[in-house]
């Protein structure tokens, strides 16, 4: 067996209040292993505003600043500048926000912070919807998904729009470090956060964090679903560092059909709808392959 490269240090204590099989808790735990103790995390309204428990409980062994929904980007800007003024430039300043708080209500604040070039990390944990609020659609919800605001009844009102991919927006904006990761590949996730640490400036990492509660699959399947998201190319792993783009090619591809069949949120989809989703996945795969070859 190969020795693991995952740091031993634990900054997440037991006793959190997340759902069984929560992907977002693993995303935070792995990210902190790469970031270390000298880290402050700003968290907006999200699952992670609840996971540490009611005051005065904590589950992380680092300072954690809670902010309103749209404030993540601006709050990490203020924290970074103030810590530098104090002479504490060795702190990692991290915004840790969900996909609703990033792709939707927080996009302006994120874009502003990245454009200003603060030396910060913005980690988007992507569970593809407003899961803490009861599984509503977000801009990051994929095509085909049923949510509580895109319900399938007599009208087939599942989400008709394709997923808004914030990491792509960040690359287009010229953020010096952009990566995607998911919890099924912790070595890759941790290495990407470590690589980001080498860069002084804004860093953006989007971590797919499957959610058994909102995606409707058994909690013990979280890692499997996370892995299948990559293998089906529904969620592509890449790293974009100072102009260089590297795409991970999944070793054992599975079809979009196999992926959607693993979760009840897609169970209403017919062959034609699955084909529409497969075509979009193929198109984007081709697009990113071409991007890598340039």
């Amino acid at each position: 067996m190969m020795p693991t490269s995952i740091p031993q240090q634990e900054l997440m204590e037991p006793g959190h209040t997340a759902c069984q099989g929560c992907g977002a808790t693993l995303a935070m735990r792995y990210a902190l292993k790469a970031l270390g103790k000298k880290t402050v995390v700003s968290v907006p309204a999200s699952c992670w505003a609840v996971i540490p428990g009611a005051m005065p409980n904590r589950t992380l062994d680092i300072p954690m600043v809670y902010t309103p929904f749209a404030a993540t980007g601006a709050s990490i800007s203020g924290l970074r500048e103030a810590l530098d003024i104090r002479g504490d430039s060795d702190y990692n300043v991290v915004g840790f926000a969900g996909d609703g708080g990033t792709a939707d209500i927080g996009l302006q604040s994120l874009s502003g912070a990245m454009e200003r070039g603060h030396n910060v990390f913005y980690i988007m944990y992507d569970n593809e919807g407003y899961m803490n609020t009861g599984v509503q659609r977000s801009g990051s919800t994929p095509y085909g998904a049923e949510t509580t605001t895109t319900p399938v009844g007599l009208e087939r009102n599942f989400k008709k729009q394709q997923k808004k991919i914030v990491a792509d927006i960040m690359m287009a904006q010229g953020v010096p470090y952009v990566a995607t990761a998911t919890i099924a590949y912790p070595e890759d996730l941790i290495r990407k956060v470590q690589n980001a640490r080498k860069i002084t400036g804004p860093k953006f990492i989007q971590i797919l964090a499957p959610c058994p509660t909102g995606w409707y699959y058994p909690p013990e399947k979280t890692i499997e679903v996370s892995r299948m998201a990559v293998q089906s190319r529904m969620f592509l792993l890449y790293e974009y560092s100072e102009g260089k783009f590297r795409l991970t090619k999944p070793s054992r591809p599975v079809t979009v059909k196999e992926y959607v069949q693993s979760q009840k949120r897609f169970s209403h989809m017919d062959e034609n709808e699955i084909r529409i989703l497969q075509e979009e996945v193929d198109r984007r795969w081709g697009e990113l392959l071409e991007k890598e070859s340039h």
Binding site: P52, G53, A54, P63, M64, G78, L79, E81, Q108
Partner: protein
């Protein structure tokens, strides 16, 4: 007036406020441009560029972000400042609650400007009146000198360990913000003596990790924390009086306290006003006194905490009280009028009339204020719009 350790200069209200920020040794400034506040932060950016102030200046992409950025810098223990007006202040509203609830002594200048539509950049108090329930101390100035001095006092009051509430300092759009007056700029040494460095007990520190603002259930400390804000707000009145007194001893300028009384001694008709309208009212009171009308003025400086006791005491003996509001709560009346009347309830039978004036920068002229006094003398009550076309 003593003018110790200061130099005289001619400057606009916004320049005076920027001087106050410099003298207060603010460490972090974040703002979004909006008229007529803009020249404050332009001046500060210039001071940073010329190394006249050792602060960092960050122009953000929105006012919500400006307040979020100073929220975060203050929680890291750095004295922080922002300024805004009008729509920008409304856009910050959510963050105002957040800063106050987290008990952060941020100081902000608000250049009072109307709220659209229609678009209007001129002075009224609708913007700050809409924030009266956010947990911020609120103060209105009537001169450029007072705007600067209030800002310096603001940090002392807000950072007092018994207060720990944010501080919103208002000046009238254009009438102060863009109008030049003589301002005495105190020496830095004296300001340093008056205003020590900020030491936040609970600043962000990885050796003592804390959760800042995690959730509280109904049985948790939520309600107690809100009550504590109320208690601190009431207690801040004494701190305001104490700090204002100390300021006058060091700098020779005495602003009284939460209110300023002008010719209230033996006054039959007392007008309650704020900002520059109060200056005009004081002038008119002097003139009417010469003609035998016993007019006095109460100038509200602090609207939060509301100086109910001070006002009740000041208008005692008057036969009629009028309140001038530069904002209106639609379907109710002027906010100051409502609060003055509530303060008097059960303690005085004096009739109170509300005058809504100067909305959207409409001039409040001498004759308008004379008219108010005449209406009071004629026993007119209720809410009256002043200098408005199409009838009363």
């Amino acid at each position: 007036m003593r003018e110790i350790g200061s130099k005289a200069s001619i400057m606009t209200g916004n320049e005076a406020v920027a001087e106050g920020v410099r003298l207060a040794r603010v460490g972090f400034i974040s703002a979004y441009p909006i008229t007529p506040q803009t020249t404050i932060v332009e001046k500060l950016a210039e001071m940073v560029a010329n190394r006249e102030i050792s602060a960092r200046y960050v122009e953000v992409e929105s006012e919500h972000s400006a307040m979020a950025a100073v929220f975060a810098s203050e929680i890291a223990g750095v004295r922080s400042y922002t300024a805004t007006s009008s729509q920008g202040l409304l856009y910050m509203h959510e963050m105002l609650h957040w800063v106050a609830g987290q008990r952060l002594p941020v100081v902000m200048s608000v250049v009072n400007r109307a709220i659209g539509p229609p678009w209007n950049i001129w002075s009224d108090q609708s913007d700050s009146m809409n924030q009266k329930d956010t947990g911020w101390i609120q103060v209105y100035s009537e001169s450029n000198q007072e705007a600067m001095d209030t800002l310096i006092m603001g940090y002392r009051i807000a950072e007092d360990s018994g207060v720990m509430l944010p501080f919103m300092s208002m000046e009238d759009a254009f009438i102060l913000s863009h109008t030049s007056e003589q301002v005495l700029i105190p020496d830095q040494d004296l300001v340093d003596e008056f205003l020590p460095e900020l030491h936040l007990d609970f600043r962000v520190d990885s050796d003592h990790p804390m959760g800042y603002g995690s959730y509280s259930t109904p049985d948790g400390p939520f309600m107690e924390l809100k009550k504590d804000m109320m208690d601190s707000m009431w207690k801040s009145a004494d701190t305001i009086r104490k700090v204002t007194q100390e300021f006058s001893e060091i700098f020779g300028r005495d602003y009284g306290g939460l209110i300023e009384e002008y010719m209230t001694e033996g006054a039959e008709y007392i007008l309650v006003a704020s900002g520059t309208v109060a200056s005009t009212a004081k002038y008119v009171a002097g003139k009417m006194r010469e003609n035998g009308m016993k007019v006095g003025i109460v100038r509200i400086r602090y609207f939060r905490p509301f100086p109910a006791e001070d006002i009740v005491r000041a208008v005692k003996g008057a036969s009629h009280v009028g309140v001038i509001d530069r904002s209106v709560s639609f379907g109710s009346g002027g906010a100051m009028f409502n609060e003055v009347r509530a303060a008097l309830y059960g303690r005085s039978d004096v009739p109170v009339t509300g005058f809504i004036a100067g909305i959207g920068g409409r001039d409040v002229r001498e004759e308008d204020i004379e008219g108010m006094v005449n209406m009071m003398a004629a026993g007119k009550e209720g809410n009256v719009f002043i200098n408005v076309r199409g009838g009363k």
